[in-house]
């Protein structure tokens, strides 16, 4: 690890700014206006669920609401509607808590289920690339934009929600916050406390898309072509 040419480069910038270079002591000011904190202020979880559900439509994502007891049936239905075949998911304690293994028992015998296993290395990526469906839990969910936030780690590779044709996010209702403002604040606070942020944090709002050909919306480009968000009442 190395840093090259930093001093010449930054000294020049400071000189252009007409002052000595600063490497410490700059404090981020309190911004004069802060409209980001006003959005959906004081709303309860139910109101946020409504906003979230509406926004799902805008981003071409199917929205299903259920509770823990019925999650199994709902998930089986969604998986079947995507044609089953092969599924990849992270190694996540929530898999058991939410009864995923049970649900997979309901699927056809020949459905391939792969739980991310770092000990087999890049093979995980290959499996993800071939998989028909990726399933993850959302760590923080943004109502305004219908966004799931994923903190990746050795048990949860980015590939899972990226490479398969279809993506299913399971969203515990308690993960719902108004907007990205709250997610950013949570991450910022952790950094201030000295925690390391995940090597990859992804904010995912629906399937991949593009407007690069004559400005027509094409859903499904490099990432998933279809997405379903399942909100689970706890």
């Amino acid at each position: 690890m190395a840093v090259y040419n930093r001093d010449e480069f930054l000294n020049k910038l400071a000189a252009k700014l007409g002052r000595p270079r600063r490497t410490e002591g700059v404090v981020r000011p309190v911004w004069r206006v802060n409209p980001q904190y006003e959005v959906f202020k004081g709303m309860d979880q139910e109101e946020l669920v409504d906003i979230f559900a509406n926004q799902c439509e805008a981003i071409h994502t199917d929205f299903v609401r259920t509770d823990v007891a019925h999650l199994k049936n709902v998930l089986v239905d969604v998986i079947k509607s995507y044609g089953g075949e092969s599924i990849i998911l992270p190694k996540d304690p929530r898999n058991e808590i939410y009864g995923l293994p049970d649900c997979f028992n309901e699927l056809q015998q020949d459905t391939n289920i792969h739980v991310w296993d770092y000990t087999i290395g890049k093979e995980n990526e290959k499996i993800a690339e071939r998989a028909n469906i990726g399933i993850t839990f959302s760590d923080i969910t943004l109502a305004e934009t219908a966004t799931v936030t994923l903190f990746h780690n050795k048990h949860h590779g980015r590939s899972i929600s990226l490479m398969p044709k279809n993506y299913i996010a399971i969203i515990p209702k308690s993960t719902l916050v108004p907007r990205m403002t709250q997610a950013a604040a949570i991450i910022h606070e952790k950094i201030e406390k000295g925690e390391l942020v995940a090597s990859c944090v992804s904010f995912i709002s629906g399937p991949s898309n593009s407007a690069d050909i004559e400005m027509n919306l094409i859903v499904g480009v490099h990432g998933p072509v279809k997405a379903t968000y399942i909100l689970v009442d706890e």
Partner: protein
Amino acid sequence: MSLKLEDIPFEEGVQKGIENDFMRQAVSGAQGRFRAGRLKQAQELGNWEDWRKLGEEIRTHTVNHIDFYLHQLSEQVEKRGGHVYFAETAEEANSYIKQVIQTKNAKKIVKSKSMVTEEIGLNDALAETGTEVVESDLGEWILQLEGDHPSHIVTPALHKNKEQIRKTFAQKRGYTGSSEPEELAAFARKQLRSDFLQADVGITGCNFAIAESGTITLVTNEGNADMVWTVPDTLITVMGMERIVPTWEEMEVLVGLLTRSAVGQKLTSYITAYTGCREEDEIDGPNDYHLVIVDNGRSNALGTEFQAALHCIRCGSCINVCPVYRHIGGHAYNSVYPGPIGAVLTPVLDGYDDHKDLPYASSLCGACTEACPVRIPLHEMLVLHRQKIVENGDTPFAEKMMMKGVGMWGGSPFVYKMSTKLAHSALKPWTKDETIENGPGPLKAWTAVRNLAAPPKQSFRSWFENRKKDGEN
């Protein structure tokens, strides 16, 4: 390193643009949709002016302390296992990147859309290494197959129609399908998947670097940048030095301004924030990470009246409202950065010599300034550029023409002259029943009081022809 795309005079580029009917229609359609999308999102969010003020304040503070934040960023990236290379020039950046690629003995590189790599001419530099470079953004991939340049900073292949794209796919990649956008995209997905999986090195740009944690944020809809981050073991990020924010909280604010302004979306499908190398036992992400921070003339703006040009978040809103861009298209600017921001930024980065006509590619109507989510006074900066160009004794073609009495932009009252002399169609989006309501920029104040009669239908084409004739003697 010149930012010029082609070695042709400004006049010629403009003429080409005007003659390209498909392009002009595509541009005006896109402008309308982008503009409508932005306004809808701004309205839904409410108090948009407060958001713009916040954006401006964040950008002003950050650029004022850019040495501090870049220092912090580099410390954090290093802590997370990455290398940081500060490049004063395009050549320095390119040769560092080439060196990394040669050390890796790379055969294939996948790239995600990045303006700064266009600016420094990275692809040409990489061609010298014999490595295959694949652009993975759908629009950029189309252009790469054709050997063409982007014409818009958000939708680079705006000037191509689907039939042209079908033909290119057929000729270059043996595509046999229809010109339906879905089918074209599905074909591109397949082709690019195999490129991603084989790539040894990935190269991305950077929307916002977060100083507090050494994080790079990428904003996309297609998911290509995520593929570029995920698969190859070696990753290089190239960022313009000003693309930085203090913390995640400012990133969040600016990303929201960017996605709303750029594409009329609350957020794009993917906002991905990655930091240094993958952790132990992680499979996805690079194990060799390089951040290249590029000056390439940006520091010319620091401490000058053009400093705020570095506040730009590359949303393209100014382009989407510009009546001149509407008529001449992106290529006419003959710069990596088209439209009002291009006319402001290009001479700052690259000097006036090659670009002294650019500050004249504007009607000074002020629509750009009003659209800018971080409140950069674009049209004022264009005036400043013109003053400087004239002070230098360097009178470009356009200025000569103006002095000959076309009087397009000079004299007073400026606003009325603009509205009568500038092409009728330039004002079209705001014209309703031949009176102007809610005109752009300075016109707005006027129309708020009374509706102006629409200017006579003098086309941009005829204006341009006159201008040319005048310029010749």
